[in-house]
């Protein structure tokens, strides 16, 4: 320890210098994010400029439009930008919404179970299980979905009359909303469970004891006191899960069916068996088209929409978490 006291950090490692160096790094990272936002929007601008608000609207077949865009880039004729992304957006909304709703319900119950009701041995099993499910790479979920879940849905759940009834419009093979939503739920629920249970754990024990002392049973106490005071955590977890779900590309590229088709809930329950393709997989499926100007503008415009929505959701989540800290619940 003797030599530790000698001033080994001379002017080279003076405080001001270190602070400036670290500050420069931080500024670089912040600048990188800003540059990313700006670059993605600028690169995608031609597509937005040509389509205006109808970029977000329905009209025509998306896959035909994408093909026309990519062909015009290769042939060198006048570039085509016409692109109406509604089926892709609708598919994103359906898959994300469905998965988040199911995951919210089940994650809430599981988090309550882990924190309050599970016996010690059970919560000691469940916690690593949740962490494991959160860390399985999405491509493995995709592979299992393609090789196990999709054939099961295609062969067992969808009946022949159902296949025949929509044969003129689209073929039902098992690549479906159902498969995508199921697997996406398994992917995002663990994230929600871990944030929810952090929130539930940090509820002040005095509040719960007060309720218990009034003769309210543990179940009611948990739901009326603990879950309610952990609301910011529940909002934060849900919002972060939405951001994750919107950006999921690889698994959905494998499972959603890769058809630019908008399943219509008005058709009855059959719509959950119909294929579609959300926004993020559209990019990864057409990544070869990045070299042609109209193709790259279209892909970057999709990326800009994804970036905007995911960043909005994750910022909203962090604001909710900050509120949580303020009320002493984390």
């Amino acid at each position: 320890m003797e030599e530790e006291l000698t001033p080994e950090y001379g002017p080279k490692w003076s405080d001001q210098r270190v602070e400036r160096m670290l500050g420069a790094l931080v500024c670089f990272v912040v600048g990188l994010l800003l540059a990313m936002i700006i670059v993605v929007f600028i690169k995608g601008w031609p597509s937005f400029a040509h389509n205006g608000l109808s970029w977000f609207g329905p009209g025509g077949d998306v896959d035909d439009q994408l093909n026309a865009i990519f062909l015009s880039g290769q042939s060198g004729a006048e570039y085509v930008y016409t692109f109406h992304a509604w089926p892709l957006i609708w598919s994103t909304l359906l898959i994300t919404g469905g998965a988040v709703l199911i995951a919210l319900f089940s994650a809430l119950f599981v988090a309550v179970f882990i924190v309050e009701f599970a016996p010690d041995w059970m919560s000691n099993i469940l916690q690593p299980v949740v962490r494991f499910l959160a860390s399985v790479p999405s491509v493995i979920y995709g592979l299992l979905g393609v090789l196990v879940l999709v054939p099961f849905i295609g062969n067992n759940l969808i009946s022949e009359p159902q296949k025949a009834s929509v044969a003129g419009v689209i073929s039902l093979t098992g690549y479906s909303l159902l498969a995508a939503v199921t697997v996406l739920t398994i992917m995002i629920a663990p994230l929600m469970v871990s944030i929810f249970s952090d929130g539930l754990r940090s509820v002040k024990p005095g509040w719960l004891e007060g309720s218990l002392a009034l003769g309210v049973n543990r179940w009611r106490t948990t739901w009326k006191i603990a879950v309610r005071s952990a609301r910011p955590a529940i909002v934060a977890g849900t919002v972060l899960a939405v951001a994750r779900a919107i950006g999921e590309s690889v698994m959905l590229a494998m499972l959603s069916g890769s058809v630019g088709f908008a399943p219509n809930p008005a058709d009855g329950l059959i719509f959950i068996y119909e294929p579609s393709r959300p926004l993020a997989p559209t990019i990864i499926k057409n990544i070869d088209q990045l070299s042609s100007p109209p193709g790259s503008a279209t892909l970057f415009s999709i990326a800009a929409v994804l970036l905007f929505s995911a960043a909005t959701f994750s910022l909203a989540g962090s604001v909710a978490r900050r509120a949580m800290r303020k009320y002493g619940a984390a």
Binding site: L5, Y9, W13, D15, V18, E19, L22, G23, L25, V26, V29, V30, L32, L33, V39, V40, V110, F113, M122, L126, V129, R131, F132, L133, S135, P137, S138, V139, I140, G142, L143, L144, V146, L147, I186, P205, N217, R218, W219, L240, R244, I246, G247, S249, V250, A280, I283, I284, I287, D288, F300, L306, L307, A310, A311, F313, S314, L315, G317, S318
Partner: protein, 318 residues
Amino acid sequence: MEAATVKKGAVEGSATWSLVDRIGLAICWALGLLFCAIAVAIVVYLFVQGIKFLKPSMLVTPAASGFTESESGGFSDALIGTLIVAVMGISIALPAGVAIAVWLVEYGRPAILARITESTIEAIAGIPSIVLALFGTVIFSSTAVGFLSRETEGVVFGRSFFAASAMLSLVALPLIVASTREGLNSIPRHVREASYAVGKTKAATTRRILLPSCRPQVATGMMLGLGRIVGDTAIIVVLLGATQNFAPVEGAPFPLNYLRGAGTTLTNFVYEASPTGNLNQPQKAYAAAFVLLLMVLVLNGAADVVHRRARKVGTWSS
């Protein structure tokens, strides 16, 4: 802590509850068991399939072009590619993440910049990796960084191990920052003051006292970050070039020619070998997925062990 033990000791049974409450508890149990069942099913199924289809020769033979599963070789290039990407990605993300965390906790002036940085890190955590990948193609296709990838007649290819690792480090960065911050925040004020009192500068305190004592948290963050890097697919598909073998750049010295060239990783291999990919060799996809899952399991287990040990040892207040 005290309240929890008391509560566990005197558990009120559910027998006195109303029916609705008991149904709720049953749903809790059912969902908890369902989670366990899903996890067990994934592990067992992949282990069974992996052991059935994985041959040791696959780990050492590169992929070859062929029509049947027996002709097309193994995935040694993918395995090595995963290791390269993991090492390179984490060696960017670890120093940067620790430095950002140190700045946030120990310096953090001006306050407005600290707020912006926090939001930036959270935003990076939320950005879809496919968007990061597209941004990467823009950066690494510019002629200024042409030396990082293949360059033919002034046109920069922009797909290389350098490009993919740089973008993957952004995926790991938020995890490392969060974990290191947690560690630094858990060190009480008086430890720093004791160090200042013997004449250490802030920089020396950080380097000699604070960082060594939050080593477990840094390690946890690193493992989690590695898990994310190893498991990411979108960035690899976009930024590493769609090949199944190494494509070294000619005319560069040894490690650089491979690092500047395109390549593949296990995630990319699984993606391509699945029935929706270009290769469509489900058996090999299972084998590669099994190896990938093993890696992720080991990384997660290591993070768990480190984290638990840190909790047992690291109590400054006692």
